[in-house]
């Protein structure tokens, strides 16, 4: 029997906004699932509040609800749509938790909705630490000594029993949020207190430390006939102790003998069977490197980040299969889409090595705590494929897009061996580079193993790469050594560095000696069966399997790993560009290296090259495919940065040309452009030397905005108010690249407006203008954006449009352009021009109904907008209001300041849309995970410059019945204005102080605008962190506070006395 006939309509729950621990992988799995269910003839209803996803595209499901993912809203959707079943196993922890809540509130039973995939008790058995241990004991599967605690005292008592170190794991939290390794009682107390607060059920597991064990994962699938298979197993290079999301991971396992492999396979299959899961499941195990002893660490009864990785690693589409299985199909009747001739009921055989390397946000959060532990910190990841470990690893390092083209970090060269040893012992995000460096210093594998417990297998490989480096250094420009180095996976850039020449020279030398790669296919079966998957990777070997077709081809470059400032939005645009290219009859080829995304699903493009995005790797594909040209404008800064090199090597960049990109990015050219077009901009200067910065700042006048040129997402951009702050900024940026100038701009406050336009060089259309809630100074990615704008006059909008048109025409933009304006006293100032896809494209496309990336691609390939029926201008505004609310992952990033400023900090976004701004904001805030309480208390601590403005806010909170708390200065100011406020003591005071009221949950909001200033650990910083760690909304911007006040205002009724009669009469 193919599928369950009692079901017609299925509600699929997405994972919502992107946060650390729950990222683009759920867009990939969710969209695959929806498509799979539609293929089977079901009506699919989708709920997801993340507008930046492919999943929420109108073609993916039959009905799409971009509403907050809460039980309230889901109940409304269920009531309206009356689905027969709900599928929550493809939307991460968020969807799974919602399913549990919907069951507990009786909604599922009330509306007769069946739960597909994973039974409720399995969710509980896997997620609830106590039930999990009971189940494992019943199965005879070992789990590490552990105890569930609900208080700090219980935790300490248990730890005294089993001995330190112990691991704390809070129940039902994402990506290990709030957990950690504790070496002593004070650490245990702090982490447990935090973990209990973050766990929705106030439970933590205190677990025996098995750090140093091998960490192995199995991705398993099972159907309703109890047929179960292993899709892939993976081995963490980093042993137990570092979250698997933060570990370097290889697939398949490299150091397991068949006996160990089968031992863990048996355990994994036993578990998925016991949980009665119909679909996919992830089992994490710890294996003693010195015996057959193993422990089951964790089970995810759903599709996870690891399953997205496993899908891309093997070619086996887990989410698609899981959805079909959940709908009643069985593994032995689903055809394997890769081979087309075999069935889904088999275990993929790999003939390559996969390496996954996490991408960390510490290039942005330089002051963040970089130590890796059980709390995930990576924002994204890359995957690399090679025919051996070294090649795979080095391709992975290149794919990170951190500038490293090999295992070489110039920063480490100065470190002493002792410093490096410390960093080996307590791993941080640069561990791979540290490993390479210590081998360069002559440390032995045994010494390194003692400090890291990384399996010697991997250490030897890295050590040998360093030996190869030495051979290269000793044999300059020798073709034989070059061949060896290329076969081992070294990049031209790395070799060039060792040979003191340029990458271009190495490239030429290679072309002369014909040292070029071939491409191999990913086919799930190690070539045993004929397959035609258009999914390739490069290697230096004999046979090339990627045959270039005779069709006209376009190559699209993706955006690489997800990081702050370059998120899933760019993958959305890339996918739409690829689809448009296919529609236009060209062969669409994509290069990308992010395993989490939809763009690297081999069924999206005509051909997928899973490769690093460096000049060398892109040129190899171009040499083989000979495309008509390359599209770089959808792949964020990663792709844009490649344009220059590609052009230098004679490759056609399609769409907006390089010169235009330069004009927008180079400060002098940009100024010239605006002057020529007679457009206004905030006054600014470009300074090449550090010592001239102060002088420039004085000329412009404080406050000023300082930043290095060529940045993504406002890296290292700051507003400084005086000489002191400026000097501090410069000291901090010491490590910054000296070759790029420093930009100093007048910090102009006003309404920030963002325009995204599609242009063919002649006609320019603006599907929508967005206005930011927060005034200029907050990075556009961190601001709440509103469409249509609420505060702009027709004439201002017209002026923005005219400016956009002028710029687009002058730059001869073919494709997309994003312009940010500041509106001050009805004057329109141009802040920034980005002649490429921006992160607002998916949001705007969805709310306006214009698929902008599609139109842009058509323009890039020569179609005209007028030919498509468009005239220049702003498209008519829709009559509903949509807001884009940023989502942060601060609770996962210790020591990161949460204050909003010019540097982007958000990891994702949520949408809210409704009839009025307040309703839309309410939904947006809820969807972003903030609560909008109707009563309670607010803590106000504001900087002197903000006090007057804060007064209005305080007054309004008071009117709405909120109790006010304030620190000394702020309280005095409020007192003077006759606003009743309770003064709280400063940090460190033994009485009830500003931190303790947050800790005790006495306040629902914190409004804090104290800048970090010179000390990285100021009082303001500590207040903000305290709020984050206790899950209390901390508003660092008064505009955001006002917006929330407006929302509370329209959703509550305040008590007001009748007006005094006498006053009226007198």
């Amino acid at each position: 029997m193919p599928k369950n006939p009692s079901i017609e309509k299925i509600l699929v729950i997405g994972s919502g906004p992107i946060v650390i621990g729950q990222a683009a992988e759920f867009d990939y799995s969710g969209s695959q699932a929806c498509q799979a269910l539609k293929e089977e003839g079901y009506t699919v209803v989708l709920a997801n509040s993340n507008p930046a996803t492919i999943m929420t595209d109108e073609t993916v499901a039959d009905q799409i609800y971009m509403e907050p993912l809460t039980t309230d809203f889901l109940t409304k959707i269920i009531r309206k749509e009356q689905p027969d079943a709900i599928l929550p196993t493809l939307g991460g922890q968020t969807a799974l938790n919602l399913a549990v809540e919907l069951e507990q509130t009786g909604t599922l039973a009330e509306y007769g909705v069946a739960l597909l995939g994973t039974p409720l008790n399995a969710i509980e058995q896997a997620e609830d630490r106590g039930k999990f241990r009971v189940l494992m004991r019943e199965l005879g599967e070992p789990v590490p000594d552990s105890d569930i605690v609900q208080s700090v005292d219980e935790a300490c008592a248990f730890a005294r029993d089993i001995g330190y170190p112990v691991i704390v794991r809070p129940a039902y939290t994402l990506g290990g949020t709030g957990g950690g390794m504790c070496y002593n009682e004070p650490e245990l107390q702090a982490i447990t207190r935090n973990g209990l607060a973050l766990s929705p059920v106030n439970q933590c597991l205190i677990e025996k430390n098995i750090a140093g064990f091998k960490e192995i994962e199995y991705e398993v699938m099972r159907d309703r006939h109890d047929q179960a298979i292993v899709v892939c197993n993976m081995e963490n290079v980093d042993p137990v102790g570092i979250h698997t999301g933060d570990s370097v991971v290889v697939a398949p396992s490299q150091t397991l003998s068949d006996r160990e492999y089968q031992l863990l396979r048996n355990a994994s299959l036993k578990i998925i069977r016991a949980l009665d899961i119909e679909g996919g499941c992830n089992v994490q195990l710890a294996l003693d490197p010195d015996s057959f002893t193993y422990y089951v660490i964790e089970v995810n009864p759903r599709v996870s980040r690891s399953s997205a990785l496993a899908s891309k690693a093997t070619g086996y589409p887990i989410a698609k299969m899981a959805a079909k299985i959940a709908a009643g199909l069985t593994l032995d009747e689903i055809v394997n889409p890769i081979t087309g001739t075999t069935y889904a009921c088999f275990e993929p055989a790999l003939d390559y090595v996969i390496t996954k390397i996490p991408r960390f946000p510490f290039d942005k959060f330089t002051s963040g705590n970089r130590h890796l532990g059980t709390q995930m910190k990576a924002t994204g990841e890359i995957m690399a494929i090679g025919r051996h470990f070294e090649e795979s690893l080095l391709k992975g390092v290149r794919s990170l897009d951190t500038g490293a083209e090999g295992l070489l970090s110039p920063d480490l060269a100065d470190g002493t061996v002792e410093e490096l040893k410390t960093r080996l012992q307590k791993a941080d995000d640069e561990r791979l580079f540290v490993l390479a460096e210590v081998f360069r210093r002559g440390m032995t594998v045994e010494e390194v193993w003692q400090l890291t417990k990384i399996d010697r297998f991997f250490l030897v490989k890295i050590e040998q790469l360093i030996h190869l480096e030495m051979r290269l250094t000793a044999n300059q420009l020798v073709p034989e050594v070059l061949t060896e180095a290329k076969h081992k996976g070294l990049s031209d850039a790395h070799i060039a560095q060792l040979w003191h020449t340029t990458a271009d020279n190495i490239y030429e030398l290679r072309m002369k000696h014909v040292i070029t790669p071939v491409y191999k296919m990913v086919d799930t079966c190690a070539a045993e069966f004929e397959s035609e998957t258009p999914y390739f990777y490069s290697t230096f070997e004999e046979e090339n399997e990627s045959v270039s077709s005779g069709r006209e081809k376009i190559l699209v470059l993706g955006s690489g790993p997800i990081r702050i400032g370059q998120g899933i939005e760019f993958d959305y645009a890339t996918v739409h560009s690829v689809l448009a290219i296919k529609e236009m009859g060209y062969e669409a080829i994509i290069m990308n290296n992010n395993p989490e995304t939809v763009s690297t699903d081999f069924s999206i493009s005509d051909k997928l090259y899973f490769e690093p995005l460096t000049l060398e790797d892109v040129m190899h594909v171009i040499n083989l495919e000979q495309p008509k040209g390359v599209i770089v404008q959808f792949g964020g800064q990663t792709a844009i940065n490649l344009a220059e090199g590609l052009e230098r090597r004679g490759v056609a960049i399609l769409g907006t040309n390089l010169e235009a990109i330069g004009k927008a990015e180079d400060r002098n050219q940009f100024e010239q452009l605006l002057n020529d077009l007679e457009l206004l901009r905030p006054e600014g200067k470009t300074v090449l030397k550090f010592d001239r910065v102060e002088e420039a700042a004085h000329a412009i006048g404080y406050p000023v905005l300082v930043r290095p040129s060529y940045v993504i997402g406002g890296s290292r951009m700051e507003i400084v108010y005086d000489d002191d702050e400026l000097r501090h900024y410069l000291a901090k940026s010491n490590g910054a690249d000296d070759t790029h100038p420093i930009l100093i701009d007048n910090y102009m406050t006003g309404i920030e407006v963002e325009v995204d336009a599609v242009s063919d060089g002649e006609t320019v259309i603006v599907p929508g203008i967005m206005e930011h809630i927060e005034r200029s100074g907050v990075h556009s990615g961190d601001s709440i954006a509103v469409y249509p704008p609420q505060r702009l006059s027709q004439s201002v909008k017209r002026e923005c449009m005219q400016a956009t048109e002028k710029i687009a025409r002058e730059l001869q933009v073919k494709g997309l352009i994003n312009i940010q304006f500041i509106i001050r006293d009805d004057g329109v100032y141009v802040l920034e021009v980005n002649p490429r896809a921006s992160r607002t494209i998916p949001f705007l496309s969805k709310i306006t109904g214009v698929t902008m990336a599609n139109l842009a691609t058509r323009c890039i390939l020569g179609e005209t907008l007028s030919g498509m029926g468009y005239d220049s201008g702003i498209l008519p505004e829709r009559d509903f209001v949509s807001v884009k609310v940023p989502v942060f992952s601060f609770e996962k990033l210790r020591s990161v300041d949460t204050t909003l400023g010019p540097e982007m900090k958000s990891t994702g976004e949520a949408i809210g849309h409704d009839k009025t701004l307040e309703k839309a904001l309410y939904k947006g805030l809820i969807a972003a995970g903030l609560s909008v309480p109707q009563e309670g208390a607010v803590l106000l601590t504001v900087a002197d410059k903000d006090k007057a403005e804060a007064l209005t806010i305080a007054e309004r909170f008071h009117q709405l019945g909120f109790k006010l708390y304030a620190t000394e200065g702020t309280a005095a100011y409020m007192d003077e204005a006759n606003i009743p406020v309770t003064k709280v003591a400063k940090i460190g005071s033994s009485e009830r102080n500003v931190l303790s009221i947050i800790e005790n949950g006495d306040v629902q909001f914190v409004v804090n605008t104290l800048t970090s200033g010179k000390q990285p650990r100021s009082d303001g910083f500590m207040i903000r962190r305290e709020a984050v760690e206790h899950g209390i909304a901390c508003l660092t911007n008064l505009d955001t506070a006002t917006a929330i006040l407006n929302v509370i205002d329209v959703t509550t009724f305040s008590a007001k006395p009748m007006m005094n009669k006498r006053n009226v009469l007198s």
Binding site: H225, S257, P348, A349, R387, F457, V460, E528
Partner: protein, 364 residues
Amino acid sequence: MPKRQLILEDGTIFNGNGFGAEMESVGEVVFNTGMTGYQEVITDPSYCGQIVTMTYPLIGNYGINRDDFETVTPFIHGLVVKELTEYPSSFRSDETLHGYLQANGIPGISGIDTRKLTKIIRRHGTMKAMMTDADRPAEELIEKVKEQPHYTDQVKQTSTVKPYVVPGRGKRIVLVDFGMKHGILRELTKRNCHVTVVPYNYSAGNILRLKPDGVILTNGPGNPKNVPDSIAMIKAILGGIPLFGICLGHQLLALACGADTKKMTFGHRGVNHPVKDLEKNKTFMTSQNHSYAVTHESLKRTELTITQFALNDNSVEGIRHKLYPAFSVQYHPEGSPGPEDTPQLFDDFLLMVSEFRRKEHIYA
């Protein structure tokens, strides 16, 4: 390491690095898709006379240990890998793969495009090949490879010469050794059986004299038609003693019952072969290593029913005799290497043995 070449019958030449024993070797080149278990593969006697290509590119990662042998002396004629791991890492590792092959007189070649080789085998079927020093003239050698006759005596090479006993207190089982993997023995000793291993050419009379409760026909190398006497032996004991055939044993049971076998293009070698069990109505992941298969058509004229088939190519994977207590499977229920999804078959067999004894007792 010396340069070495692999010369295929069709004229394709692969140049790589030699490892293992420094010698020339000829054999049938096949590929195995397992990602772990090279030690078991190398020591599986069913590979006798073959040059085995591992499709997984990194081989030797966990070295060679004392536990995972499937036979005492390996019978493969060569090993082909993409990359040989020189420094293995495992708590059980006693020596490197290179050292082991060297000590056992088996040559290896590394550094070649094994995926290309696999695709050649997939397209043209298994073929003869030679592994030799790189400096020898290939043209002459191609002719030599072509002229090399196919081996027919692999069972004789791999089977035990004399019977021996692995004592136990449970059921008395005779294992007819056609090139047995230790895994089969391990499954029986785990179940307390008293096992007598006999050579492939042991007569029916001699087997009956041992008064076994059941007979297992083991796996083994080559074409089942190369051991006609064994087929006769099976015919003689069929019906009188419960029988369980594995791999070559399965093919021999089929031949003894009047069915036929044929050579497959490139066979099944790996640990991920889905097999549908029609009796249990379930698909299992199995470990396989065979070049020959029982044909569907030939079963029609016999008293055999098909009980299992390969999901991917529909080939016969299991049969059962309609009248007599005898069944067999093409794959390896003992795993090693490979999944342990089907050890139940050994229990099924022992249950069949008990049932048979009970009936014999009642109707005797």
